[in-house]
């Protein structure tokens, strides 16, 4: 299953609902293009909902890091929401769990943006 992305606005925050696999190739490109497009439209408060992402590889992890730093470098914020156990475990062993701002409640996550 390839990756699918849809976006919605909640109180000034762009929630990006992701599902499927974020892996080398199509999944990573989809993620990259989505973040670039949001930034080009000035949408710099981004909440990546990964609740339906069932698989991510090292390229996908790299894409999350790239999205995080790209948004931050443009003065925005990118946070992660609803990690599955697999994604959570991968971020733990790669020590990225503390780098990202990870949330498990959408309403609270939206409010946490400055």
């Amino acid at each position: 299953m390839s990756m699918k992305i849809s976006t919605r606005q909640v109180d000034g925050v762009t929630v990006v609902d992701c599902s499927g696999r974020i892996t080398l190739g199509e999944g990573s490109v989809t993620m990259r293009d989505t973040v670039r497009e949001l930034l080009s439209k000035g949408q710099k408060k981004i909440l990546l909902n990964l609740g339906d992402v069932n698989y991510i590889d090292s390229s996908g992890i790299g894409e999350l890091v790239s999205a995080f730093t790209t948004v931050r470098n443009q003065g925005g914020e990118l946070k992660l929401l609803n990690l599955t156990k697999k994604v959570h475990d991968l971020l733990q062993i790669t020590k990225l769990y503390t780098v990202f701002d990870v949330k498990d409640d959408e309403a609270g996550a939206v409010k946490s943006f400055h």
Partner: protein, 148 residues
């Protein structure tokens, strides 16, 4: 568990990465590993295949990736070999180092080592061979033979 070997010769394409992962998932399942271990083995194989296709063979259509699964005693042994210039082990960064945490690549070998019991990397001028070993635990193992 009886000894059994299955091998594949694959093109240097992204499809090979997916095929390698799928083969690993099937063979590890047949070997009796639980779902979490199957996922770890399949991800290790996927990452090794990515290295072989991208960094080893550099998508060269004239170069192949060899992938073999063997059950040796109580081990599942997986070998991935490319035909590249040979991986320079001294240039593999530590992805957990503070200065590397926000790098967008360089985690593949680390994940492979995290998920497998043994990892042996043998670079040469004719390519890199990486051997992944997973020890089988418990009496439930020893199901169907892997088939191609």
């Amino acid at each position: 568990m009886t000894n059994h070997r299955v091998s594949y010769t694959l093109d240097s394409t992204l499809e090979t990465v997916d095929s390698a992962e799928q083969a690993a998932t099937r063979i590890a399942s047949e070997a009796g590993f639980d779902d979490d271990e199957v996922m770890r083995i399949a991800m290790a194989v996927r990452e090794a295949a990515v290295n072989a296709v991208l960094h080893g063979n550099a998508y060269d259509p004239g170069k192949k990736v060899n992938l073999a699964f063997e059950r040796i005693g109580h081990d599942l042994v997986i070998t991935i070999r490319d035909q590249g210039k040979g991986l320079d082990l001294s240039k593999i960064p530590d992805p957990l180092a503070a200065e590397n945490l926000l790098k967008t690549s360089g985690r593949g070998i680390f994940l492979i080592r995290s998920f497998m019991d043994e990892v042996h990397i043998n670079p040469s001028q004719t390519g890199t061979e990486i051997k992944l070993v997973k020890h089988v635990h418990g009496p439930a193992v020893g199901g169907k033979e892997a088939s191609q």
